[in-house]
Symmetry: C2
Subunit: 192 residues, 2 copies
């Protein structure tokens, strides 16, 4: 199956993995599918799954009383999860929902992952490298949010994540940038 290969591949980019380790891991994967209106992970729920996205797009929504704020998107070939809840075992402050009408994923349960950490050679190392990657992502975003004004944010997004602009509704992009849809619309029209 091709998307299993994609998972293996993303591991191979991190570490040299034996076939034994891979088989041990693969056995624990499950497959699932979501529709646009489904809620993949709910606010307050303790995240029990680490997903690998094979089709569609999902977004992470911050639990604020007022307006929906998007903290992240995931695309095919990427892992996603309410990661802070998953690793801390505390209630999720994020909700995860599909952006596209159909979303296909593999996932690994929390306990399965702990088994992988205990029973494979490279488990811990993959876990460390993955966490380091996630850290770096949030770290760049911190600089992004701290130092740029709306126009600069949009220009940087345009340069560094053009695929995002092509496929995500403007209102979600706006909330991801921490600005209003109106402002983003104006910036966009003032450029192209």
């Amino acid at each position: 199956m091709d998307s299993l290969n994609a998972i293996r591949k993303s591991f191979d980019q991190l570490v040299t993995m034996t076939d034994d380790d891979w088989f041990y891991f693969r056995e624990k994967l499950h497959q699932t599918r979501f529709k646009r209106t489904d809620i993949i992970t709910r606010f307050g729920q303790i995240e029990n799954r680490l997903y690998f996205l094979t089709r569609g797009i999902v977004r992470h929504i911050v639990n604020t009383t007022s307006i929906e704020t998007t903290s992240d998107f995931a695309f095919p070939g990427q892992f996603f999860s309410s990661y802070s809840s998953f690793i801390s075992r505390r209630p999720s402050i994020y909700e995860i929902r599909p952006v596209t009408s159909e979303v296909d994923c593999y996932y690994l349960g929390y306990d399965s992952l702990q088994d992988v950490y205990l029973n494979t050679q490279c488990g811990e190392k993959i876990g460390r490298l993955a966490a380091e990657q996630q850290f770096q992502k949030k770290s760049s975003r911190e600089v992004f949010l701290l130092t740029l004004n709306p126009r600069e944010k949009y220009l940087q997004l345009l340069e560094e994540q053009p695929h995002l602009i092509q496929q995500i509704p403007l209102k979600h992009l706006a909330s991801y940038l921490g600005i209003t849809p109106e402002t983003l619309s104006r910036i966009r029209s003032s450029i192209s």
Copy 2:
């Protein structure tokens, strides 16, 4: 030595560590001291050290052409480093400088840490848990920066990190919150 105990202690909070592992680790630690005007890590430099702070306060500064923006502070008992540079081996986009007149630390070189990963039982696990912690920290900060206005930022800081307010100059606090010193001064006077 007491501050070595503090390091051991912070490891013990993460994982059960054998004395053998600890001795292996401890041998690789070095001690150093900085004065207020020193630059601990420079922009563009590849970070080669992971520090453990035993005395004083340091701050992480983002490399923007215009104004100095503070992305993080570290206090005694905490690790610090230009972590994204340290793990990616790419030039640092942060500068690290003392906030206090004297800063004492232990540090571990990059290669030493790789040795620890290879040659101890719990090294990888500590590395993973530490990276997960760093991730969570940046993750909360993302929500903080995305969803709060200046006043709300200050109130949350007051509640969750009061030690920070007591010991850091206002202008650095302001840049950490992504607002101007004038605005922070006004918010502060409107409250207490």
